[in-house]
Protein backbone atom coordinates (compact mmCIF):
# COMPACT_ATOMS: atom_id res chain seq x y z
CA UNK A 1 0.00 0.00 0.00
CA UNK A 2 1.28 3.45 -0.96
CA UNK A 3 1.92 5.72 2.03
CA UNK A 4 -0.05 8.92 1.44
CA UNK A 5 -2.21 11.42 3.25
CA UNK A 6 -5.35 9.75 1.84
CA UNK A 7 -4.37 6.30 3.06
CA UNK A 8 -3.41 7.79 6.39
CA UNK A 9 -6.87 9.36 6.77
CA UNK A 10 -8.60 6.16 5.60
CA UNK A 11 -6.58 4.04 8.00
CA UNK A 12 -7.20 6.59 10.75
CA UNK A 13 -10.96 6.06 10.34
CA UNK A 14 -10.24 2.32 10.12
CA UNK A 15 -8.39 2.35 13.47
CA UNK A 16 -5.14 1.55 11.59
CA UNK A 17 -6.10 -2.10 11.15
CA UNK A 18 -5.50 -2.26 7.41
CA UNK A 19 -1.77 -1.46 7.10
CA UNK A 20 0.07 -4.37 5.47
CA UNK A 21 3.54 -5.46 6.60
CA UNK A 22 6.23 -3.19 5.13
CA UNK A 23 8.05 -6.18 3.62
CA UNK A 24 7.84 -9.98 3.43
CA UNK A 25 9.83 -12.52 5.45
CA UNK A 26 10.36 -15.15 2.76
CA UNK A 27 12.15 -18.48 2.94
CA UNK A 28 15.47 -18.46 1.05
CA UNK A 29 15.22 -19.68 -2.53
CA UNK A 30 17.82 -22.14 -3.81
CA UNK A 31 19.23 -19.72 -6.33
CA UNK A 32 19.35 -16.00 -7.06
CA UNK A 33 20.97 -13.84 -9.74
CA UNK A 34 22.68 -11.74 -7.10
CA UNK A 35 23.23 -12.15 -3.36
CA UNK A 36 23.97 -9.10 -1.25
CA UNK A 37 25.60 -9.94 2.08
CA UNK A 38 24.70 -7.38 4.77
CA UNK A 39 21.30 -5.83 5.47
CA UNK A 40 22.49 -2.38 6.44
CA UNK A 41 21.57 0.73 4.48
CA UNK A 42 24.28 0.18 1.85
CA UNK A 43 23.30 -3.44 1.16
CA UNK A 44 19.58 -2.67 0.98
CA UNK A 45 20.22 0.35 -1.26
CA UNK A 46 22.32 -1.85 -3.55
CA UNK A 47 19.48 -4.35 -3.86
CA UNK A 48 16.97 -1.58 -4.50
CA UNK A 49 19.01 0.00 -7.29
CA UNK A 50 19.80 -3.42 -8.81
CA UNK A 51 16.05 -3.95 -9.16
CA UNK A 52 15.11 -0.40 -10.07
CA UNK A 53 17.94 0.75 -12.33
CA UNK A 54 19.17 -2.53 -13.79
CA UNK A 55 16.04 -4.70 -13.82
CA UNK A 56 17.75 -7.43 -11.76
CA UNK A 57 14.99 -8.47 -9.36
CA UNK A 58 15.95 -12.01 -8.47
CA UNK A 59 18.07 -10.73 -5.60
CA UNK A 60 18.51 -11.74 -1.95
CA UNK A 61 19.79 -9.54 0.86
CA UNK A 62 21.25 -11.77 3.56
CA UNK A 63 21.51 -10.29 7.06
CA UNK A 64 22.90 -12.12 10.08
CA UNK A 65 20.84 -10.14 12.60
CA UNK A 66 18.08 -7.65 11.99
CA UNK A 67 17.87 -4.91 9.35
CA UNK A 68 19.91 -1.87 10.25
CA UNK A 69 21.26 -3.51 13.42
CA UNK A 70 24.79 -2.62 12.34
CA UNK A 71 26.23 0.85 11.87
CA UNK A 72 23.18 2.03 9.95
CA UNK A 73 21.20 1.96 13.19
CA UNK A 74 24.07 3.20 15.38
CA UNK A 75 25.32 6.32 13.67
CA UNK A 76 24.84 10.02 14.31
CA UNK A 77 23.27 10.56 10.86
CA UNK A 78 25.32 13.51 9.58
CA UNK A 79 24.83 13.90 5.82
CA UNK A 80 27.03 16.22 3.71
CA UNK A 81 29.21 16.21 0.60
CA UNK A 82 31.99 18.72 1.37
CA UNK A 83 34.96 16.49 0.52
CA UNK A 84 38.30 17.73 -0.78
CA UNK A 85 39.31 15.51 -3.71
CA UNK A 86 37.37 15.34 -6.96
CA UNK A 87 36.76 11.59 -6.75
CA UNK A 88 35.16 11.86 -3.31
CA UNK A 89 33.35 15.10 -4.05
CA UNK A 90 31.57 13.56 -7.04
CA UNK A 91 30.66 10.35 -5.21
CA UNK A 92 29.35 12.03 -2.04
CA UNK A 93 27.58 14.71 -4.08
CA UNK A 94 25.82 12.02 -6.13
CA UNK A 95 24.67 10.62 -2.83
CA UNK A 96 23.46 13.98 -1.53
CA UNK A 97 21.51 14.55 -4.75
CA UNK A 98 19.84 11.16 -4.26
CA UNK A 99 19.04 12.04 -0.63
CA UNK A 100 17.25 15.16 -1.83
CA UNK A 101 14.59 13.10 -3.62
CA UNK A 102 14.77 9.88 -1.66
CA UNK A 103 11.73 10.21 0.61
CA UNK A 104 9.53 10.57 -2.49
CA UNK A 105 11.41 7.93 -4.48
CA UNK A 106 11.08 5.32 -1.72
CA UNK A 107 7.64 6.51 -0.59
CA UNK A 108 9.00 6.42 2.95
CA UNK A 109 9.54 9.39 5.25
CA UNK A 110 13.29 9.51 5.89
CA UNK A 111 12.91 12.74 7.88
CA UNK A 112 15.74 14.13 5.79
CA UNK A 113 16.44 17.58 7.15
CA UNK A 114 18.85 19.93 5.35
CA UNK A 115 19.59 21.98 8.43
CA UNK A 116 23.18 22.74 7.47
CA UNK A 117 26.52 21.38 8.68
CA UNK A 118 28.93 23.85 10.24
CA UNK A 119 32.62 22.92 10.56
CA UNK A 120 34.51 25.07 13.05
CA UNK A 121 38.14 26.06 12.95
CA UNK A 122 40.29 27.02 15.90
CA UNK A 123 43.73 28.10 14.71
CA UNK A 124 45.43 29.81 11.83
CA UNK A 125 46.38 26.64 10.06
CA UNK A 126 42.80 25.36 10.37
CA UNK A 127 41.61 28.60 8.87
CA UNK A 128 43.90 28.41 5.84
CA UNK A 129 43.07 24.77 5.28
CA UNK A 130 39.39 25.63 5.56
CA UNK A 131 39.65 28.23 2.79
CA UNK A 132 41.52 25.84 0.55
CA UNK A 133 38.82 23.26 1.13
CA UNK A 134 35.93 25.65 0.52
CA UNK A 135 37.50 26.73 -2.76
CA UNK A 136 38.13 23.15 -3.89
CA UNK A 137 34.56 22.21 -3.05
CA UNK A 138 33.07 25.21 -4.83
CA UNK A 139 35.16 24.47 -7.92
CA UNK A 140 33.29 21.18 -8.03
CA UNK A 141 29.99 23.05 -7.96
CA UNK A 142 29.14 21.96 -4.44
CA UNK A 143 27.81 24.48 -1.94
CA UNK A 144 30.18 25.55 0.79
CA UNK A 145 30.58 28.96 2.32
CA UNK A 146 32.85 30.68 4.78
CA UNK A 147 31.45 32.11 8.00
CA UNK A 148 33.50 34.67 9.91
CA UNK A 149 33.69 34.49 13.65
CA UNK A 150 30.82 36.98 13.96
CA UNK A 151 28.72 35.08 11.44
CA UNK A 152 29.32 31.86 13.36
CA UNK A 153 28.20 33.60 16.51
CA UNK A 154 25.04 34.91 14.85
CA UNK A 155 24.27 31.48 13.33
CA UNK A 156 24.69 29.53 16.57
CA UNK A 157 24.44 31.95 19.50
CA UNK A 158 24.94 29.25 22.15
CA UNK A 159 28.53 28.54 21.03
CA UNK A 160 31.29 29.65 23.38
CA UNK A 161 33.00 32.49 21.47
CA UNK A 162 35.36 33.44 24.31
CA UNK A 163 38.75 34.19 22.63
CA UNK A 164 40.58 32.97 25.73
CA UNK A 165 39.55 29.31 25.70
CA UNK A 166 42.13 26.68 24.78
CA UNK A 167 40.71 26.30 21.26
CA UNK A 168 38.96 29.58 20.41
CA UNK A 169 36.55 29.60 17.45
CA UNK A 170 37.97 31.64 14.57
CA UNK A 171 35.45 30.88 11.83
CA UNK A 172 33.76 28.03 10.05
CA UNK A 173 32.61 26.49 6.80
CA UNK A 174 28.93 25.88 6.25
CA UNK A 175 27.30 23.45 3.85
CA UNK A 176 23.65 24.47 3.94
CA UNK A 177 22.48 21.42 1.99
CA UNK A 178 23.95 19.09 4.63
CA UNK A 179 21.96 17.86 7.58
CA UNK A 180 20.49 14.73 9.16
CA UNK A 181 18.17 11.85 8.28
CA UNK A 182 16.44 9.21 10.36
CA UNK A 183 18.77 6.18 10.36
CA UNK A 184 16.25 3.36 10.92
CA UNK A 185 13.91 4.78 8.31
CA UNK A 186 16.71 4.56 5.75
CA UNK A 187 17.05 0.80 6.30
CA UNK A 188 13.30 0.20 6.42
CA UNK A 189 12.55 2.49 3.49
CA UNK A 190 15.07 0.82 1.20
CA UNK A 191 13.95 -2.62 2.42
CA UNK A 192 10.29 -1.92 1.69
CA UNK A 193 11.02 -0.41 -1.72
CA UNK A 194 13.34 -3.29 -2.68
CA UNK A 195 10.85 -5.87 -1.45
CA UNK A 196 8.12 -4.31 -3.59
CA UNK A 197 10.35 -4.86 -6.63
CA UNK A 198 10.75 -8.54 -5.75
CA UNK A 199 13.94 -8.59 -3.66
CA UNK A 200 13.97 -11.25 -0.89
CA UNK A 201 15.17 -9.93 2.47
CA UNK A 202 16.48 -12.76 4.61
CA UNK A 203 17.09 -11.82 8.23
CA UNK A 204 18.68 -14.02 10.91
CA UNK A 205 20.74 -15.54 8.14
CA UNK A 206 24.47 -15.43 8.78
CA UNK A 207 26.93 -16.16 6.01
CA UNK A 208 29.43 -18.77 7.25
CA UNK A 209 31.29 -19.55 4.02
CA UNK A 210 31.55 -18.43 0.43
CA UNK A 211 31.48 -21.22 -2.13
CA UNK A 212 33.86 -21.11 -5.05
CA UNK A 213 34.49 -23.07 -8.18
CA UNK A 214 38.09 -22.26 -8.98
CA UNK A 215 38.35 -18.50 -9.40
CA UNK A 216 34.56 -18.00 -9.46
CA UNK A 217 32.01 -17.66 -6.68
CA UNK A 218 29.02 -19.97 -6.83
CA UNK A 219 27.09 -19.31 -3.65
CA UNK A 220 27.09 -19.02 0.13
CA UNK A 221 26.72 -21.31 3.11
CA UNK A 222 24.43 -19.74 5.69
CA UNK A 223 22.70 -20.55 8.96
CA UNK A 224 19.55 -20.97 6.82
CA UNK A 225 21.16 -23.31 4.30
CA UNK A 226 23.06 -23.10 1.03
CA UNK A 227 22.09 -20.36 -1.40
CA UNK A 228 23.55 -20.18 -4.90
CA UNK A 229 24.26 -17.18 -7.12
CA UNK A 230 26.83 -16.28 -9.78
CA UNK A 231 27.33 -12.82 -8.28
CA UNK A 232 27.86 -11.90 -4.65
CA UNK A 233 28.34 -8.44 -3.16
CA UNK A 234 29.67 -8.10 0.39
CA UNK A 235 28.54 -4.93 2.22
CA UNK A 236 29.21 -5.81 5.83
CA UNK A 237 31.05 -2.75 7.23
CA UNK A 238 32.94 -3.84 10.38
CA UNK A 239 32.94 -7.47 9.24
CA UNK A 240 34.48 -6.70 5.83
CA UNK A 241 37.75 -8.53 6.56
CA UNK A 242 35.90 -11.58 7.90
CA UNK A 243 33.57 -11.98 4.93
CA UNK A 244 36.18 -11.08 2.28
CA UNK A 245 38.44 -13.60 4.01
CA UNK A 246 35.82 -16.29 3.27
CA UNK A 247 36.44 -15.62 -0.42
CA UNK A 248 40.22 -15.58 0.09
CA UNK A 249 40.58 -11.81 -0.27
CA UNK A 250 42.82 -9.77 2.01
CA UNK A 251 41.75 -6.18 2.73
CA UNK A 252 43.56 -3.11 4.08
CA UNK A 253 40.74 -2.68 6.60
CA UNK A 254 40.89 -2.60 10.38
CA UNK A 255 37.80 -2.77 12.57
CA UNK A 256 37.44 -0.35 15.47
CA UNK A 257 34.67 0.60 17.90
CA UNK A 258 33.11 4.00 17.33
CA UNK A 259 30.96 5.34 20.14
CA UNK A 260 28.06 7.75 20.28
CA UNK A 261 25.74 8.99 22.97
CA UNK A 262 22.51 10.92 23.43
CA UNK A 263 21.40 13.31 26.15
CA UNK A 264 18.03 13.56 27.83
CA UNK A 265 15.55 15.35 25.53
CA UNK A 266 15.34 19.11 25.81
CA UNK A 267 13.51 21.93 24.00
CA UNK A 268 14.91 22.96 20.59
CA UNK A 269 18.29 24.60 21.18
CA UNK A 270 20.54 23.59 18.28
CA UNK A 271 19.11 23.93 14.76
CA UNK A 272 22.15 22.78 12.78
CA UNK A 273 24.96 20.23 12.89
CA UNK A 274 28.19 21.39 14.53
CA UNK A 275 31.47 19.66 13.79
CA UNK A 276 35.00 20.39 14.87
CA UNK A 277 37.98 18.34 13.82
CA UNK A 278 40.42 20.08 16.16
CA UNK A 279 38.59 19.37 19.42
CA UNK A 280 36.73 16.38 17.98
CA UNK A 281 33.05 17.15 18.33
CA UNK A 282 30.03 16.48 16.22
CA UNK A 283 26.67 17.26 17.69
CA UNK A 284 23.13 17.83 16.51
CA UNK A 285 19.68 17.74 18.08
CA UNK A 286 17.22 15.04 17.11
CA UNK A 287 13.54 15.72 16.50
CA UNK A 288 12.86 14.08 19.86
CA UNK A 289 15.03 16.76 21.47
CA UNK A 290 18.01 14.63 22.41
CA UNK A 291 21.48 15.93 21.66
CA UNK A 292 23.21 13.33 19.50
CA UNK A 293 26.98 13.30 19.79
CA UNK A 294 29.69 11.12 18.40
CA UNK A 295 33.09 10.34 19.85
CA UNK A 296 36.27 9.19 18.14
CA UNK A 297 37.27 5.61 17.43
CA UNK A 298 39.04 3.48 19.99
CA UNK A 299 42.51 2.89 18.61
CA UNK A 300 42.57 -0.90 19.04
CA UNK A 301 41.01 -3.51 16.74
CA UNK A 302 37.69 -4.76 18.03
CA UNK A 303 34.49 -6.52 17.08
CA UNK A 304 32.92 -6.07 20.52
CA UNK A 305 30.57 -3.14 19.81
CA UNK A 306 31.78 -1.40 22.95
CA UNK A 307 34.56 1.11 23.53
CA UNK A 308 36.51 2.61 26.40
CA UNK A 309 35.33 5.35 28.75
CA UNK A 310 38.20 7.79 28.21
CA UNK A 311 37.14 8.24 24.58
CA UNK A 312 33.74 9.48 25.71
CA UNK A 313 35.30 11.64 28.43
CA UNK A 314 37.43 13.42 25.81
CA UNK A 315 34.40 13.95 23.63
CA UNK A 316 32.33 15.35 26.51
CA UNK A 317 35.14 17.69 27.58
CA UNK A 318 35.19 19.17 24.09
CA UNK A 319 31.40 19.49 23.90
CA UNK A 320 31.25 21.27 27.24
CA UNK A 321 33.97 23.71 26.25
CA UNK A 322 32.13 24.61 23.04
CA UNK A 323 28.69 24.64 24.69
CA UNK A 324 29.10 25.45 28.41
CA UNK A 325 25.31 25.29 28.85
CA UNK A 326 25.32 21.56 28.02
CA UNK A 327 27.32 20.78 31.15
CA UNK A 328 24.15 20.19 33.19
CA UNK A 329 22.68 17.67 30.77
CA UNK A 330 22.50 14.02 31.67
CA UNK A 331 23.49 11.45 29.09
CA UNK A 332 20.86 8.78 28.59
CA UNK A 333 22.39 6.15 26.35
CA UNK A 334 25.78 5.27 24.96
CA UNK A 335 26.73 2.59 22.44
CA UNK A 336 29.29 1.63 19.81
CA UNK A 337 29.35 0.32 16.28
CA UNK A 338 32.23 -1.49 14.61
CA UNK A 339 33.61 0.66 11.82
CA UNK A 340 35.74 -0.52 8.90
CA UNK A 341 38.65 1.89 8.72
CA UNK A 342 40.65 2.13 5.49
CA UNK A 343 44.21 3.59 5.46
CA UNK A 344 43.28 6.54 3.21
CA UNK A 345 39.90 7.21 4.90
CA UNK A 346 38.15 6.42 1.62
CA UNK A 347 35.91 3.47 0.77
CA UNK A 348 36.54 0.47 -1.45
CA UNK A 349 33.69 -0.16 -3.91
CA UNK A 350 35.26 -2.60 -6.25
CA UNK A 351 35.50 -5.80 -8.18
CA UNK A 352 37.95 -8.31 -6.74
CA UNK A 353 40.36 -10.89 -8.18
CA UNK A 354 37.63 -13.51 -7.49
CA UNK A 355 35.15 -13.58 -10.38
CA UNK A 356 31.63 -12.60 -9.35
CA UNK A 357 32.73 -11.33 -5.93
CA UNK A 358 32.40 -7.62 -5.23
CA UNK A 359 33.23 -5.65 -2.10
CA UNK A 360 31.81 -2.42 -0.75
CA UNK A 361 33.51 -1.44 2.50
CA UNK A 362 35.94 0.93 4.17
CA UNK A 363 33.32 3.63 4.76
CA UNK A 364 34.55 3.64 8.32
CA UNK A 365 33.24 6.44 10.46
CA UNK A 366 31.43 8.32 7.70
CA UNK A 367 29.39 6.15 5.36
CA UNK A 368 25.82 6.90 6.40
CA UNK A 369 25.77 10.01 4.21
CA UNK A 370 26.86 7.85 1.30
CA UNK A 371 24.13 5.21 1.68
CA UNK A 372 22.11 5.94 -1.49
CA UNK A 373 25.15 6.83 -3.63
CA UNK A 374 27.08 3.79 -2.47
CA UNK A 375 24.17 1.49 -3.30
CA UNK A 376 23.72 3.19 -6.64
CA UNK A 377 27.32 2.75 -7.83
CA UNK A 378 27.65 -0.72 -6.30
CA UNK A 379 24.50 -1.90 -8.11
CA UNK A 380 26.04 -0.62 -11.34
CA UNK A 381 29.35 -2.35 -10.61
CA UNK A 382 27.63 -5.69 -9.97
CA UNK A 383 25.11 -5.47 -12.82
CA UNK A 384 27.64 -4.41 -15.47
CA UNK A 385 30.62 -6.22 -13.97
CA UNK A 386 32.58 -2.96 -14.16
CA UNK A 387 32.66 0.12 -11.97
CA UNK A 388 30.72 3.27 -12.73
CA UNK A 389 32.75 6.40 -13.49
CA UNK A 390 31.90 7.61 -9.98
CA UNK A 391 33.49 4.66 -8.16
CA UNK A 392 36.28 3.75 -10.60
CA UNK A 393 38.93 5.33 -8.39
CA UNK A 394 37.67 3.53 -5.29
CA UNK A 395 39.10 0.21 -6.42
CA UNK A 396 41.11 -2.24 -4.40
CA UNK A 397 44.17 -1.94 -6.69
CA UNK A 398 44.90 1.58 -5.47
CA UNK A 399 46.83 0.13 -2.55
CA UNK A 400 49.29 -1.38 -5.03
CA UNK A 401 49.38 1.48 -7.52
CA UNK A 402 49.65 4.12 -4.82
CA UNK A 403 46.69 6.13 -6.12
CA UNK A 404 45.27 6.62 -2.66
CA UNK A 405 42.44 9.09 -2.04
CA UNK A 406 43.52 10.74 1.17
CA UNK A 407 40.41 12.13 2.82
CA UNK A 408 41.63 12.23 6.40
CA UNK A 409 41.07 15.98 6.30
CA UNK A 410 37.52 15.95 4.98
CA UNK A 411 36.63 12.99 7.09
CA UNK A 412 38.02 15.28 9.82
CA UNK A 413 36.13 13.86 12.76
CA UNK A 414 34.43 10.53 12.84
CA UNK A 415 30.89 11.12 11.59
Amino acid sequence: MQYSIFNLIREGINKHKGWPAAFRHPEPKERYDVIIIGGGGHGLATAYYLAKEHGIRNVAVVEKGWLGGGNTGRNTTVVRSNYLWDQSAFLYEKSLKLWEGLTQDLNYNLMFSQRGVLNLCHNLHDLRELHRRINAIRLNDIDSEYLTRDQVKAFVPILNMDPNIRYPILGGSLQRRGGNARHDAVAWGFARAADRLGVDILQNCEVMAILRDGAKVTGIETTRGTIRAPKIGAVVAGHASVVAGMAGIRLPIESHPLQALVSEPIKPILHTVIMSGAVHVYVSQSDKGELVMGAGIDTFNSYAQRGSLQVIEDQMAAVVELFPMFSRLRMMRQWAGIVDVCPDASPIVSKTPVEGFYVNCGWGTGGFKATPGSGWVFAHTIAQDRPHRLNEAFNIERFSTGELIDEHGAAAVAH
Binding site: V242, I253, F300, N301, A304, R306, F399
Partner: protein, 93 residues
Protein backbone atom coordinates in the same frame (compact mmCIF):
# COMPACT_ATOMS: atom_id res chain seq x y z
CA UNK B 1 38.61 -0.40 28.99
CA UNK B 2 41.56 -2.77 29.19
CA UNK B 3 43.87 -3.50 32.11
CA UNK B 4 47.20 -4.26 30.46
CA UNK B 5 50.20 -5.74 32.26
CA UNK B 6 53.38 -4.06 30.97
CA UNK B 7 56.20 -6.64 31.10
CA UNK B 8 58.31 -4.08 33.01
CA UNK B 9 55.81 -2.09 35.09
CA UNK B 10 52.95 -4.49 35.74
CA UNK B 11 49.20 -3.94 35.35
CA UNK B 12 48.20 -0.42 34.35
CA UNK B 13 45.12 1.22 32.94
CA UNK B 14 44.72 1.32 29.14
CA UNK B 15 45.03 5.14 29.11
CA UNK B 16 48.76 4.81 29.87
CA UNK B 17 49.35 2.91 26.64
CA UNK B 18 49.25 3.60 22.94
CA UNK B 19 48.23 0.99 20.41
CA UNK B 20 50.61 -0.07 17.64
CA UNK B 21 48.44 -2.32 15.45
CA UNK B 22 49.09 -5.82 14.16
CA UNK B 23 52.32 -7.37 15.41
CA UNK B 24 54.93 -9.59 13.75
CA UNK B 25 54.94 -7.65 10.47
CA UNK B 26 58.61 -7.74 9.57
CA UNK B 27 60.05 -4.88 7.54
CA UNK B 28 61.15 -6.34 4.18
CA UNK B 29 64.90 -6.99 4.14
CA UNK B 30 65.21 -5.74 0.56
CA UNK B 31 62.38 -3.27 -0.06
CA UNK B 32 63.70 -2.37 -3.51
CA UNK B 33 63.18 -5.96 -4.61
CA UNK B 34 59.47 -6.08 -3.67
CA UNK B 35 56.71 -6.07 -6.28
CA UNK B 36 53.97 -3.44 -5.93
CA UNK B 37 51.59 -6.16 -4.77
CA UNK B 38 53.97 -7.42 -2.09
CA UNK B 39 54.56 -3.85 -0.98
CA UNK B 40 50.81 -3.23 -0.68
CA UNK B 41 50.55 -6.40 1.36
CA UNK B 42 53.30 -5.27 3.72
CA UNK B 43 52.10 -1.68 4.07
CA UNK B 44 48.33 -1.93 4.01
CA UNK B 45 46.83 -5.42 4.14
CA UNK B 46 45.92 -6.61 7.64
CA UNK B 47 44.54 -9.80 9.17
CA UNK B 48 42.01 -7.91 11.29
CA UNK B 49 40.71 -11.15 12.85
CA UNK B 50 37.47 -11.57 14.75
CA UNK B 51 39.03 -13.43 17.67
CA UNK B 52 42.64 -13.73 18.79
CA UNK B 53 44.88 -10.89 17.57
CA UNK B 54 48.65 -10.55 18.06
CA UNK B 55 49.31 -6.83 18.38
CA UNK B 56 51.79 -4.23 19.64
CA UNK B 57 51.35 -1.76 22.46
CA UNK B 58 53.70 0.84 23.90
CA UNK B 59 53.69 1.99 27.51
CA UNK B 60 53.61 5.63 26.37
CA UNK B 61 52.95 7.24 29.76
CA UNK B 62 55.20 4.81 31.63
CA UNK B 63 58.46 3.11 30.72
CA UNK B 64 57.87 3.90 27.00
CA UNK B 65 58.81 0.40 25.92
CA UNK B 66 57.09 -1.65 23.21
CA UNK B 67 55.77 -5.17 23.69
CA UNK B 68 53.33 -7.66 22.18
CA UNK B 69 49.88 -8.62 23.39
CA UNK B 70 47.66 -11.52 22.42
CA UNK B 71 44.10 -10.24 22.79
CA UNK B 72 40.65 -11.43 21.82
CA UNK B 73 38.94 -8.77 19.69
CA UNK B 74 35.46 -9.99 20.67
CA UNK B 75 35.76 -10.49 24.45
CA UNK B 76 38.61 -7.94 24.90
CA UNK B 77 40.26 -10.56 27.11
CA UNK B 78 44.07 -10.38 27.19
CA UNK B 79 45.49 -13.86 26.67
CA UNK B 80 49.22 -13.19 26.82
CA UNK B 81 51.77 -10.40 27.07
CA UNK B 82 55.24 -11.04 25.65
CA UNK B 83 58.33 -9.08 24.68
CA UNK B 84 59.29 -7.76 21.28
CA UNK B 85 61.17 -10.36 19.27
CA UNK B 86 59.60 -13.29 21.10
CA UNK B 87 57.50 -15.67 19.01
CA UNK B 88 53.73 -15.55 19.23
CA UNK B 89 52.58 -17.92 21.99
CA UNK B 90 49.76 -20.43 21.54
CA UNK B 91 46.40 -18.73 22.13
CA UNK B 92 46.06 -18.96 25.91
CA UNK B 93 43.05 -19.90 28.04
Amino acid sequence: MHLIACPWCGPRDEVEYAYGGEGHIARPARPEALSDGAYADYLFMRRNPKGVHAERWVHAAGCRRWFNVLRDTVSHRILAVYKMGEPRPEAGP
